[in-house]
């Protein structure tokens, strides 16, 4: 719609500005709150401009202890979250690539059965199978470990499905040309398939990284050791202190920090993300 109507421009700008305010205001409040002393937020009035308590809050939160009963500094929890999110994203991508490769390019007995079996796990997200999964992880002695955090979340039907579609869209003559050129299955996978699906991989990485980063229930269940706390679940812990004042300033600072990595990933991979979802250079 390319029209020159001043009123339309005005109204659409209004709508957009309201939208931006609605989305941005809570973040703004969080930033501002982290610069005030702990009590300021609880007094009923919400400050809308920076206080002069910023350095103290941020220093404490980042390097000594997050407060509110969480004794490890935020950087440690960020590291935990990062390890978990990365292992989930990369693990999912690796497993899905391989399984989609098998399903699309190899003829073996029960091939479509295998595919549907994987596909059915879509109906069984972690929340549904949380108790049996917990038991398995506990019996494998994986409680309070990075493996335990990431492994149960790695198996992924969505990613397998996405790669299956990407592989099936691969022109048949390209596959045949590679065969004529003497590329065996492994060579073909690394030389042809991976480079051609790299935009899909990037798009999926963004989605899966955020999925991994935002995990709440599972880390809450299997970590009891502060050393393995992830950022997102810790925020909840910080809010539910048994008695005493909630340190809203440190919570807000932590929240801001928790938002940064996903934002960074999205911004950093935006171009490839869009490319991977929209077109494919084939």
């Amino acid at each position: 719609m390319i029209e020159n109507r001043p009123w339309l421009t005005f109204i659409s700008h209004c709508v957009l500005i309201i939208g931006v305010i609605v989305v941005a205001l809570p973040i703004w409040v969080a930033v501002v709150a982290s610069t005030h002393p702990a009590e300021a937020f609880g007094q009923g009035s919400i400050p809308l401009w920076f206080g002069n308590y910023a350095t103290e809050t941020w220093q404490r939160v980042l390097f000594s202890a997050a407060g509110n009963g969480v004794d490890v500094p935020v950087w440690r929890m960020m590291l935990n979250s990062l390890i978990m999110a990365l292992s989930i994203a990369l693990g999912k991508i690796a497993i899905s690539l391989i399984s989609a490769y098998a399903i699309v390019f190899f003829r073996f007995p029960l091939r479509s059965f295998c595919f549907w079996l994987i596909f059915m796990t879509l109906m069984l997200p972690v929340e549904v199978r949380i108790l049996p999964t917990y038991e398995v992880v506990a019996k494998l002695n994986l409680l309070n470990s990075y493996t335990g955090l990431a492994l149960p979340l790695i198996a992924s039907a969505t990613a397998t499905f996405l790669f299956r579609q990407a592989f099936m869209a691969m022109p048949g003559e390209l596959v045949e040309a590679a065969r004529m050129d003497g590329a065996g299955p492994v060579r073909f996978f690394f030389d042809i398939l991976l480079p051609l699906t790299r935009t899909n991989i990037a798009a999926l990485f963004v989605i899966l990284f955020i999925y991994g980063w935002n995990q709440y229930l599972w880390p809450l269940l299997i970590t009891t050791d502060d050393a393995y706390y992830t950022l997102v679940m810790s925020i909840k812990r910080m809010v539910s202190v048994a008695d005493g004042a909630i340190e809203w300033n440190s919570i807000m600072a932590t929240t801001i920090l928790a938002m940064l990595p996903p934002v960074a990933v999205v911004i950093g991979m935006q171009k490839m993300f869009v490319k991977g979802l929209v077109d494919s250079e084939k």
């Binding site: 022109p171 003559e173 045949e176 040309a177 590679a178 004529m180 590329a183």
Partner: protein, 354 residues
């Protein structure tokens, strides 16, 4: 360089469909063979069977005397140019051309050397660092050929390589392919549905119809002595005029009672298919064999195609005259059909009567 022999090669799909019953073909070393036929005649399937991309279910394929039926495509020492070119989009031109050699463990310097040689031959040297998407259609086609040539294979296989190019480029590439093949002397199997391409390129043509090799021979042999009405209609443009007719007591009757008859010096008696090429009909003032009523005229400058019908005969007829002509629509033209240019086929067996 190698001889390729197809001995009763056939293809039967698991669902019982017999795509190719049995093809016998003896390709001599360095020969340029074109497989031609309408779409769905099995020409691509046959080529892919030689390539090893389709399994051979019957018969035997040998290259240089060695049985190839069970060999992987990469082990047959052949190279193929695909219709879509199938260039690897993420590799440079040099990477595309060298990939086959790389997989065969050839060292880097040799690959570079060979790629450069072929690139010079195909006039691609200045494009070696580009990706396929930055190339024009003609250039991509060259890269695809270069990829095949770099490996210096025993046999080239082409699967309708020119069908994605515009008409002018197609003619140009056609000439180029022919010259390259002569220069390299590599045995070549080429699939096309375009009969002009087939005629101009081939040492020998194989006309396929529903998986059968209807006729195998040089382009002129097929033009002069088509073995069946199918070949007769397929080779030559515009295609041959074919009429169902009966031959009895030295008279050729066309179009039943209302049609006309020609004196024929032939022993055969019974129903036949009579054919004459549009360019062999002669316009005459007197002693005409028959008249046609003009229905449409196509002036192409160098030649004129006149479409018409003979009274009482169902089949339409095309007449090809050189130079410009402007006959009136619905006017009559008198024609002679010289008997030495006739093609007669037995209507029952569809075989040529000599």
């Amino acid at each position: 360089m190698a001889a390729v022999v197809l001995n009763k090669v056939g293809k039967k799909y698991p669902n019982g469909f017999h795509a190719i019953p049995a093809v016998d073909l003896d390709i001599k070393d360095g020969e340029f063979i074109v497989l031609v036929g309408p779409s769905g005649c099995g020409k691509s399937t046959l080529l892919r069977m030689v390539a090893g991309l389709e399994t051979i279910t019957d018969g035997e394929l040998t290259i240089n005397g060695k049985r190839m039926n069970e060999k992987e495509p990469a082990d047959r020492d052949i190279a193929m140019v695909f219709q879509s070119y199938a260039l690897y989009p993420h590799m440079t031109v040099a990477g595309n051309m060298g990939y086959g050699l790389k997989n065969r463990g050839v060292d880097k310097d040799t690959i570079e050397q060979k790629v450069n040689d072929v690139a010079t031959m195909l006039d691609l040297s200045h494009l070696l660092d580009r990706k396929p998407r930055m190339l024009s259609g003609g250039q991509r086609q060259r890269v695809a050929m270069g990829r095949a040539m770099v490996r210096d294979p025993q046999v080239f296989l082409f699967d309708e390589p020119l069908s994605n190019l515009d008409a002018k480029l197609r003619v140009q590439m056609r000439v180029e392919i022919r010259q390259l093949q002569k220069k390299l002397g590599t045995t070549t199997l080429y699939v096309t549905h375009d009969q002009v391409e087939a005629m101009t390129l081939a040492d020998r043509l194989v006309v396929l119809n529903q998986g059968h090799a209807e006729q195998i021979g040089s382009p002129l042999e097929l033009y002069d002595k088509p073995a069946t009405p199918f070949v007769a209609a397929f080779i030559g443009s515009p295609s041959m005029n074919l009429f169902s007719a009966t031959l009895e007591s030295n008279k050729l009757n066309i179009g039943g009672d209302s049609g006309f008859s020609l004196a024929a010096d032939h022993e055969f008696e019974g129903s036949v298919v009579w054919g004459i090429r549009p360019e062999h009909l002669v316009v005459c003032e007197q002693n005409e064999d028959f008249k046609i009523r003009v229905k449409a005229v196509e002036s192409l400058g160098a030649e004129t195609l006149i479409y018409g019908a003979i009274e009482g005969v169902e089949e339409e007829l095309v007449l090809r005259l050189s130079g410009p002509h402007q006959p009136e629509i619905n006017s009559d033209i008198c024609l002679q059909a010289p008997q030495e240019k006739w093609h007669l086929f037995d209507a029952n067996t569809q075989q040529r009567l000599s």
